[in-house]
């Protein structure tokens, strides 16, 4: 049944893409471990991989390990609901290594029976023989508990995100849009897990677009 739902989603996304567009789908598993250093500082470490299962809809269906990201972000709480973050990510893709520098500002609002979060971010990526890539990002996320007013331990929640990225590299620019829909489970105050779909539409300004549909599963641990 789950397999049918997955392929139905893949089909819906693929028919919305133009014939010459690229399409790929796969898994995006990750673990985020946050360490509270002081009341105001958190060190967040994440490891995430990207694995393609399907490319160009039914033509190629083979497993391919695409990349691995390892990141470390230092987060400073500037007020009751705002944070500024700065960090570094190393990306291992094929036989190449890319380095990314990250700056973020976060605002999390506690509303009645939901949380609304805004993330404004900049990042710069460098790699051997590659021009530096600059990205400007904005993400809005909504977390809605499925029971009660907040996602207490042993309760499920729904998380919806929409992100816009403006990418500039070598005087060329592009826009990427992401829609993320996840079901989350708060196991206790220190552990939560989220799983669902992450749809990315990039090379937005080019004649041939890229559509990706990932199954995202992330485990958040707070130490």
């Amino acid at each position: 049944m789950k397999r049918k739902i997955f392929f139905l989603l893949v089909w819906i996304v693929s028919i919305s893409a133009k014939a010459q567009d690229n399409f790929s789908s796969g898994l995006l598993p990750g673990i985020n471990v946050s360490i509270g250093l002081t009341d105001r500082f958190i060190l967040s470490n994440k490891i995430e991989s990207r694995q393609v299962i399907l490319e160009k809809l039914s033509e190629d269906m083979s497993y391919k390990f695409v990349l691995m990201d390892v990141s470390s972000v230092l987060s400073f709480r500037t007020s009751a609901n705002t944070r500024i973050n700065g960090g570094y990510l190393i990306r291992i893709v094929d036989d190449r290594t890319l380095h990314r520098f990250i700056q973020q500002f976060n605002l999390v609002n506690n509303l009645d029976r939901m949380r609304l979060a805004h993330r404004f971010a900049l990042d710069q990526t460098i790699g051997k023989d590659l021009p530096m890539e600059f990205r400007t990002r904005y993400r809005i996320s909504l977390e809605k508990p499925l029971s009660g007013e907040k996602a207490d331990p042993k309760e499920f929640y729904l998380k919806l995100s929409n992100e816009y990225l403006w990418v500039v590299q070598n005087k060329n620019s592009d826009v990427e849009i992401r829609f993320i829909s996840l079901l989350g489970y708060t196991a206790n105050t220190k552990n939560k897990i989220e799983a669902g779909f992450d749809y990315r539409f990039n090379e937005f300004l080019l004649s041939t677009s890229d559509h990706d549909l990932w199954i995202n599963i992330t485990w958040y641990v707070a130490l």
Partner: protein, 194 residues
């Protein structure tokens, strides 16, 4: 493809194993319930209030026990009516705008909170009433009662203290004197931040 799914197994397994002991730990949890799951005495009290709007029932479990809450909108305000496990009425809370409070109470509360913090913004104001159920019923219906009852104010503020801002819950008596000041720990937001 099988290999791809296999890569998810370690995450799921580690997550499950690491949470084996969860049931033994302390926790607080609020969840929606059906009216039929609430104590009969509590349901009878709410029925006798004749609310016209929908009533949502919640159960709250913590290390201190289990309580039940009926939430509804009445007279253009949100009401929360809390009962113990046996349906005994514990308190009634009415959410109001800070400016709706009596001028003298507002002045007194503003002075108290102003003395506690360098700067503050009121984020939420609730009037809490405790007493016998007949008096509380009058207060729910008309906002006043000639029967004995106690009034307290619960104010949530986004306030700055010692150069750092946070959310605080300030509980005050009917004259605006502080009874309790608690810093509200924000729930983990790693999944919304990173």
């Amino acid at each position: 493809m099988k290999a791809a799914y296999k890569s998810l197994i370690p995450i799921i397994l580690i997550f499950i194993l690491s949470n084996e002991g969860i049931t033994q730990t302390k926790f607080e949890r609020e969840y929606g319930i059906n009216k039929t799951e609430a104590p009969k005495k509590a349901v009878d009290f709410i029925d006798s209030c004749n609310f016209s709007k929908k009533i949502n029932w919640y159960a709250e479990e913590s290390q201190d026990g289990k309580t039940f809450e009926a939430k509804t909108k009445h007279r253009n305000h949100k009401f929360s009516i809390e009962f113990d496990n046996y349906g005994v009425l514990l308190d009634v809370e009415q959410k109001v705008d800070f400016d709706e409070l009596d001028e003298s109470v507002k002045t007194s509360i503003s002075k108290t909170i102003g003395d506690l913090f360098t700067t503050y913004k009121v984020r939420k104001t609730q009037i809490q009433w405790t007493g016998k159920s007949k008096g509380l019923m009058d207060l729910i219906k008309n906002g006043r009662s000639d029967k004995p009852y106690t009034t307290q104010y619960e104010i949530i503020v986004d306030a700055r203290k010692d150069g750092f801002s946070s959310y605080y819950e300030v509980l005050l008596d009917s004259s605006g004197n502080p009874l309790e000041v608690l810093e509200i720990k924000q729930p983990n937001a790693d999944n919304l931040v990173f």
